[in-house]
């Protein structure tokens, strides 16, 4: 069976437009609101949903997503509940679901079991930023992804050497997640001026689609990626929309914001 991620990437190419992946922390702003807000993202035009399982010590995340993780955990979010949220979204939205987790979440659940449970929840791919290729020999994470027929989405950064880009490209499936800058997650006004040369370096070593995230918060930034990447990822900026909105009206605000990223 063809992967929903691949199908969506092919459709984007046919339509000649930039894809949009929006991010949400499972359990944020509350366990009940995650799914309606994610649906609002899809109504606004998201092509993929990235669902993050909250973790107490999220190394790659800036203050916005960290705050969302803390709130989700305070709301009682667990791995099991996050998988249930992913399952609800995969069956009800029609867009591919990508699950993002830190490796301890995967490891504590049991690596093989986590991959199988994510697959059963209808998840198309896993992003585990702190699981580098070098630890595969001890963890068998990629092997478990293969065994469960779920994509292992590699993350690379501007600091990655060509050698490391090639190594990661070899194991990459679905798309490569390329951080737009050397840094942690968080909305920024400007894109890194060296971004296009870095994305060209990736294109030279890999033919799979490129998703660019970290610091993307506006339609202008999304547009600036066209021609260099296939998918723009927006995370912290949406959490900021939810925070500004306060209680009530988050769904409409998120839908409008996502729509704005697409059309302006």
């Amino acid at each position: 069976m063809a992967s929903a991620i691949d199908e969506r990437c092919r459709a984007l190419r046919r339509e000649g437009r930039m894809g949009l992946m929006t991010h949400i922390v499972a359990g944020y702003p509350s366990p009940r609101k995650t799914v309606p807000i994610a649906r609002a993202m899809v109504r606004g035009g998201a092509d993929f949903l990235e669902v993050q399982i909250p973790f107490s010590d999220p190394l790659a995340d800036g203050p916005t997503i960290m705050g969302a993780c803390e709130r989700a955990l305070a709301n009682g979010m667990t791995t099991k509940k996050a998988l249930a949220i992913a399952s609800e979204l995969s069956s009800g939205t029609g867009v591919p679901i990508v699950l993002m987790a830190y490796y301890n979440t995967v490891f504590r659940h049991g690596t093989a079991r986590f991959c199988a449970d994510a697959k059963a929840a209808g998840v198309g791919g896993l992003i585990v930023p702190d699981m580098p290729l070098e630890e595969e020999a001890s963890e068998h994470f990629m092997r478990s992804c293969k065994a469960s027929d779920i994509y292992n989405i590699r993350v690379v950064s501007p600091a990655s050497t060509d050698l490391r880009l090639r190594k990661n490209a070899r194991g990459a499936q679905g798309f490569m997640y390329c951080t737009a800058r050397q840094g942690i997650t968080g909305a920024r006004r400007e894109l890194d001026p060296n971004l296009s040369s870095y994305l060209r370096r990736i294109k030279r070593v890999s033919s799979i689609p490129i998703a660019v995230g970290f610091g993307i918060s506006s339609r202008a930034q999304v547009q600036a990626l066209s021609g260099h990447a296939e998918i723009a990822v927006v995370g912290s900026a949406i959490i900021q929309v939810i925070e500004r909105q306060g209680r009530g009206g988050e769904e409409r605000a998120v839908e409008r914001f996502v729509m704005g990223l697409r059309r302006g």
Binding site: T79, N104, F107, P132, E134, E135, S138, S160, R164, G183
Partner: protein, 403 residues
């Protein structure tokens, strides 16, 4: 060097830190085989830190306890008050070699931050130290001294606002500023090559202690005890005796105020294997792998993880673990002050408390070596409060009025 200690250790970090860790590993492995580097390191340890530190026979304590002969490796006599300055000098020399201009560190008790701030001042780096807001409250004097040394101390308010969160904040800063900054991690934890580097730099403690006790006793000690937060002082002294299979090595964890969740930092009793902050080891965490709150009267032991090499040595049966509670540590603090004229750091007082428990059950001909990793001056406020010292609290009130 491959960074794995059995199933523990490794380098579980986002891709964007891997090039920086690889560069650090390359620089370190060239430095450690460079005679000039070793000479400079040794020179700085002697002329700046005050090494070698003395080995002190605790004659009065030994007599009172009536068992094993207790020896103290007095690391508290290092400049800045603890063993931490030793690996800070090593790291600062590596940072210089790499052409870095800025040092980043996290700190729990403030001892590592203080030592980092001192080497930053001496070797000409700018310096930023992350410290949990809770730790700042209990170790304010060290914040004051770090600032006098020119360091910028940043309170970390997220998570449990203690050491693990300070580690997180420091790593994030490093991710953002990897070009000009050097992350001077404070213990034998974190992603490879940090646990190895810290152990290597600190191994001078074990080499000195082994030579000194052979000189004093004419034989090796039966036991060596060290407190364990992340494990830098323990790995330092243990590495000197690791091949001496007859020497029992004991790590002492913080028993806090009890065995209930959140009341201690007993990683090996309450914890399970996990992956966080870039390495695999034992962590105090829930079923889903969320790191839990910990407690100890000693900020330097109040940490959810533990060095991966110690986890490995425990799994091989080479290092045993024991614990001491807050109140046992305080009693040990008082005993050492009264009977030997030495204030131990509250962290080190945990190792001493263990020694006081086991010494009476050991033979009089046995030698028990305790790593006194730091001195207790920094704990003035905590000890004064714990001992309910009326004179000191009226001084504090008067001091408040004078401002």
């Amino acid at each position: 060097m491959n960074g794995h200690f059995g199933e523990f250790g490794g380098r579980y970090v986002p891709e964007m830190l891997i090039p920086a860790l690889e560069e650090l590993e390359r620089t370190y492995s060239s430095a450690r085989s460079d005679p000039d580097f070793r000479k400079e390191f040794t020179h700085q340890l002697k002329s700046f830190a005050g090494r070698p530190t003395p080995l002190t026979f605790a004659a009065n304590l030994t007599k009172r306890l009536g068992g094993a002969r207790i020896y103290l490796k007095n690391e508290g006599l290092n400049h800045t008050g603890a063993h931490k300055i030793t690996h800070c000098i090593g790291h600062a020399l590596i940072a210089k070699r790499m052409g870095k201009r800025r040092l980043i560190a996290e700190t729990g008790a403030g001892q590592h931050g203080l030592a980092t701030a001192a080497v930053a001042a001496r070797f000409g780096f700018s310096c930023r130290v992350y410290m949990g807001a809770v730790d700042i409250e209990r170790q304010r004097p060290n914040v004051f001294w770090m600032e006098r040394l020119g360091a910028e101390v940043i309170p970390v308010r997220f998570g449990s606002a203690t050491l693990k969160d300070a580690v997180n904040a420091a790593i994030k800063d490093w991710i953002e500023n990897v070009g000009d900054s050097y992350y001077l991690l404070g213990s034998a934890v974190g992603p490879h090559p940090y646990p190895t580097m810290t152990r290597d730099f600190q191994s001078v403690v074990g080499r000195e202690a082994r030579r000194q006790i052979l000189e004093a006793e004419g034989k090796l000690p039966e036991r060596v005890a060290a407190c364990v937060g992340g494990g830098s002082n323990a790995m330092g002294i243990f590495s000197g005796f690791i091949r001496d299979s007859g020497v029992k090595l004991v790590g002492v964890e913080a028993g806090g105020t009890g065995t209930a969740d959140g009341r201690n930092a007993l990683r090996f009793r309450s914890g399970t294997v996990g992956v966080a902050e870039g390495y695999k080891s034992y962590f105090i965490q829930n079923r889903d792998g969320q790191l839990s709150r910990t407690h100890s009267i000693a900020a330097g032991l109040d940490y959810a993880g533990v060095g991966p090499e110690l986890a490995y040595l425990r799994s091989r049966g080479r290092v045993e673990f024991a614990s001491a509670t807050d109140s046992e540590a305080l009693s040990a603090f008082t005993a050492l002050s009264r009977h030997e004229g030495i204030f131990p750091a509250l962290e080190s007082a945990h190792a001493l408390a263990y020694a006081m428990k086991v010494a009476p059950r050991m033979r009089k001909s046995d030698a028990l070596l305790v790593n006194l990793s730091g001195r207790g001056d920094k704990d003035l406020f905590i000890v004064a409060r714990a001992l309910k010292d009326a004179g000191f609290s009226s001084f504090l009130r008067a001091e408040g009025r004078r401002r």
